[in-house]
Amino acid sequence: MSFIYLLMILMLAIFLGFELIRKVPATLHTPLMSGANAVSGITLIGAIAYSGNENLLLAQILGSVSVFLATINVVGGYMVTDRMLAMFKSK
């Protein structure tokens, strides 16, 4: 049953995503992609639990590397998107 419940969330999120992103103008498509990079770093919150568990060394190493990589995405993605968006100026 929990699988169906997760599937429901997935389905709603995809439709919501389509509706929102269709409204993003072409001029902002590059910041949209780098912003998406940052959001996909959300994997971080899944990896934290493994990185903090000392019971299994291999899982801890995998989790920690994952935390490291996902943080690059989060910090790098948001910062570079901000840098770009700051340049979009009106007349």
């Binding site: 997935l10 919501l16 995503g17 993003v24 990079n37 940052a38 996909s40 590397v65």
Partner: protein, 463 residues
């Protein structure tokens, strides 16, 4: 439900709302920056609350990993040149894919009594993550041209490639089935890591046959995959926020992919497998002759012009001509002319590439018009200046039925009263097709480096 778990999930709802609001504000350049900040706050809140998870026994490794990742991320974000954004996005796509792959592996290592439904989803996360990772690394290599000897920026095809790919896909399915059916046998580790290796190889095989001109599609698609990998990891970990955020990223990439495909009048399948088709050489003779023009003479036409449209392409990025162009734009405006920019969806190496470069040069976003807008009034422009663009202004798409790009929507630069084409030489574009625009009566070629040419015209204005 434990108390902390309840709090964590409640905060995740807030984070999801902030991500969605952030995307909504991205619908206009004036609110976009605020949207990005909201999204970042959502992420920060989610990370902080996750740290209170009761399964965490020690914080040393987490802190080291987060600090190191932040340092690397901040360094890249500060140092990257905006012309290199396609490379950066490509690399981040790959990093995201790898992160999801590793989480899924960590889950397999921890959870030995995994049931088959969960095993399928974990393998799915590994497969998407692996393909995203290696595919993005190849795309990055093609874009940066750093490993040109190893991976050509064009398409790489060897005989029997389709056969090899089919074999890899079958092997992936067989290994996946073995992992699901025999999760606890001694061999299962071997199966899992072979599965990982094959998915990584598949990612390489899928991207090497795709040529440089199709990179906007590939980057968009891999962007989508990096989200879907996070989504699959979320399904496995039973984490709502991972699913919502991953789905938003997945949807974004899919929309951009379809925008790019439409702008090239091709299907996704056609783009992904185009390297396998034999190139058709069209034997169409173009009548007329190329008329070169000196930059000095271009000045007299521009000086008299009332309205000018600038059509940039990847060549503008290569020549770094956007700053000079902005200078020329100001001079033209002071001279009483209207200047706008016409931007084709696939100009450059990624969606929106030209817009970012022009924004960097302080060109106001109101002047950046989309293809349809600029085409509607093309016949009224006195001068169209084409800077380093080729295929996106090729009238063969409209006129020559046998042409490989026939039917592709283009910016109709040839319909303007005068067309100046700033170009290094007569080489054809990525599509490798002759461009009849160069032979039109109203077209003049200004050969040389685009930046030098524009600077020459600027000097004429100053005198």
């Amino acid at each position: 439900m434990l108390n902390t778990e309840l709090i964590i999930n409640a905060v995740y709802v807030l984070s999801a709302a902030l991500f969605i609001l952030g995307l909504k504000l991205l619908s206009h350049p004036s609110t976009a920056r605020r949207g990005n900040k909201l999204s970042a706050i959502g992420m920060l809140v989610a990370i902080c609350v996750t740290l209170s998870d009761q399964n965490i026994l020690a914080y040393e490794w987490i802190i080291v990993a987060i600090v190191a990742g932040s340092a690397v991320g901040a360094f890249i974000a500060k140092k990257v040149q905006l012309t290199e954004m396609p490379e950066m996005v490509s690399l981040l796509n790959g990093v995201g894919g790898l992160a999801s792959l590793l989480v899924a592996l960590a889950m397999l290592e921890t959870d030995t009594a995994i049931d088959s439904y969960l095993a399928v989803i974990v393998l799915l996360a590994i497969a998407i993550g692996g393909i995203t990772f290696s595919g993005s690394v190849v795309a990055w290599a093609k874009l940066s041209g750093k490993v040109a000897k190893l991976i050509s920026s064009g398409s790489t095809v060897f005989s029997g490639q389709a056969f090899v790919n089919a074999f890899i896909v079958i092997a992936i399915f067989v290994l996946g089935a073995l992992v699901v059916i025999y999760p606890q046998t001694a061999n299962s580790t071997v199966y899992v890591y072979s599965f990982v290796a094959l998915c990584i190889i598949l990612g390489v095989m899928l991207v090497i046959p795709i040529g440089g001109a199709d990179m906007p599609v590939v980057i968009s698609l891999l962007n989508s995959y990096s989200g879907l990998a996070a989504c699959a990891a979320g399904m496995a970990l039973n984490n709502n926020l991972l699913i919502v955020a991953g789905a938003l990223v997945g949807a974004s990439g899919i929309i951009l992919t379809s925008v790019m495909c439409k702008a090239m009048n091709r299907s996704l399948i056609n783009v992904l497998f185009s390297g396998f088709q034999t190139v058709k050489t069209t034997e169409i003779k173009i009548e007329g002759e190329v008329k070169p023009l000196a930059a000095d003479d271009a000045y007299y036409v521009l000086e008299a012009a009332q309205s000018v449209v600038v059509i940039p392409g990847y060549g503008m990025a290569v020549a770094q001509a956007q700053h000079s162009m902005k200078e020329l734009q100001v001079l033209l405006e002071e001279n009483g002319a209207e200047v706008v920019y016409g931007i084709h969806p696939v100009a450059g190496r990624m969606p929106g590439h030209m817009n970012v470069l022009l924004a960097e040069a302080d060109v106001p976003y109101e002047l950046l018009l989309e293809m349809d807008e600029v085409n509607a009034r093309m016949t009224n422009f006195d001068v169209a200046i084409v800077i380093g663009a080729n295929d996106v202004v090729n009238p063969a798409a409209r006129e020559i039925e046998g042409s490989p790009i026939y039917g592709m929507p283009i910016i109709n630069a040839d319909l303007a009263k005068n067309v100046f084409i700033l170009k290094r030489g007569m080489a054809s574009g990525f599509a490798g097709i002759e461009n009849p625009l160069f032979f039109k009566d109203n077209a003049r070629m200004i050969f040389g480096d685009a930046k030098d040419t524009i600077n020459t015209i600027i000097r004429q204005f100053a005198d």
